[in-house]
Symmetry: C2
Subunit: 297 residues, 2 copies
């Protein structure tokens, strides 16, 4: 399992997901930007805008390498040397407020010293939380985890609750999912091949899960009030990504390709002053469920 | 010149500005939220939404005090003790893309040790940079500065260029203005009263400058393409405020009143992937002028 193999698997995953999303969307087409990094490596950024179901979605692949800047190696707690990093990152913002926002990321990191790890996660941000959708999402994710370890779902679901959290709002970003980082043969009792198998299963779970949510919800009728709420929830998504998301902040600080990093931001987002929701409304229900530690199963 | 006096002057300034903005807007009315801080002090947040000219604008006053958290005193490079901080903060987002966004802040900080300073700034972010407007803005600001010191404009204009800058975009936020911090009798050759006089002059320059820009531009015809560009420029404003603005980040990290801190964000903002502007267009001209070191006079 060389780093080149891993990158190739990720690139195939990107291609598979793009095909599945285009098929499910029906009219939207991803545009592709291949880019190179001056210091080594590059990537392929694929963005779909103004589709039938997807308003804006990005599916990015990158495989970059080169010397690790001293401040970065310090920040990452690794010894200085050359790094290699590859991954696939996805964020999808749909038109219809009843289709949830989704994010998925799988990644692999290796130092010239031989130190390596896998990381990733998948989390769902419904503008309106629906119990059956939340249950279905977590059941799917749990099944993927359970195939690989009885501990993964519980452990990585808690990690997601902690990670996808907006402290200044005291809200989770959505209904969570799983998040994991620094998985290798010394942090989990698995071989590199086994961990890779888990990560690829997470990656391949994305399209079936999300295209189902697209099909189930894209045609639901909505009114202006639902759209307004969607744009406000997207405002929170922007807050999380610009203020807390480690990948985004790392990219901004290390001079990554800005259009690829910020493809996660929605076409339109809104902020209004001190919005109050009606007691007993669907908006109030959603807010009441943006908490850590909920058992969605 | 006690801290209580200074806070009272600031509160009057807030009230004056609100009156002037409501008069210029014509239909918009500020709603007022008085709030208290558990650890000491409080503030008055005033927000105008959906006016005739102003889409969303906030004029905040606060005067807070209490023990300074150790991590904050370290971050601010002051010895531990009790702090007192008061200020007025303004951000205005207009409807019409030809009315610029504006920001103004004046503030005073004092430690129980007696250490004190004034800070503040005013900067203009036109969605479309107009030469005469830029010149008028900087001329006004320079006149205010020149009344107090021949060095202030040059020095504080450079400071604004450095501060109101978005590194990941390699763009200034707008056409700058002035920014200054930690002014006291040991950092500038002025008495506390003289510095206070300068800061109040900056504060009182806000309404005449901005209401003129409102009157001159609110009625200009615009098309969908101008609105689209305005929302994209607002996206950059959001990026600056959430990623770099020290006041915002300080507020988020220290648990300030979130609705007051984030009143600076626009009602609507937009992100599209890799937007290209037409050569020779007004958009291209604006982008070409988002640079440090331009002499606008």
């Amino acid at each position: 399992m060389t780093k080149e193999n891993i990158a190739t698997y990720f690139q195939e995953l990107q291609s598979d997901i793009i095909n599945d999303l285009e098929k499910a969307d029906g009219t939207g087409v991803f545009i592709t930007d291949n880019w190179e990094r001056a210091e080594g490596g590059g990537g392929k950024t694929c963005v779909l805008q103004n589709g039938r179901i997807i308003e804006k979605g990005g599916v990015n692949f990158s495989a970059v390498h080169g010397p690790l800047a001293p401040e970065v190696s310090k920040m990452m707690h690794v010894a200085p040397g050359d790094f290699f990093a590859t991954g696939v990152s996805i964020v999808i913002h749909p038109h219809n407020p009843f289709v949830p926002i989704i994010h998925m990321n799988v990644r692999y990191f290796e130092m010239s010293s031989g130190e390596y790890w896998f990381g990733g996660g998948i989390d769902l941000t419904p503008h309106y939380i629906q119990d059956d959708q939340a249950q279905s999402f977590h059941t799917h994710i749990k099944n993927v985890c359970d195939k690989h370890s009885p501990d993964f779902y519980t452990q990585f679901k808690e990690w997601a609750d902690r990670y996808f959290f907006i402290p200044h709002r005291n809200e989770t970003r959505g209904i969570g999912g799983i998040f994991f980082d620094r998985l290798n043969d010394s942090t989990v009792a698995k071989s590199k091949e086994e961990i890779h198998g888990f990560v690829m299963d997470v990656g391949h779970s994305f399209a079936p899960i999300y295209t189902q949510f697209m099909r189930d919800n894209y045609n639901k009728p909505f009114i202006e009030a639902h759209k307004r709420w969607q744009l406000l929830r997207r405002g929170r998504y922007v807050e999380f990504n610009l203020v807390y998301d480690k990948g985004t902040r790392f990219g901004l600080e290390t001079g990554g390709r800005i259009e690829s990093i910020l493809m996660s931001l929605p076409k339109l987002a809104s902020w209004e002053y001190d919005v109050q929701v009606e007691k007993g409304s669907a908006e109030a229900k959603t807010l009441s469920l943006l908490k850590k530690g909920i058992d969605w199963l």
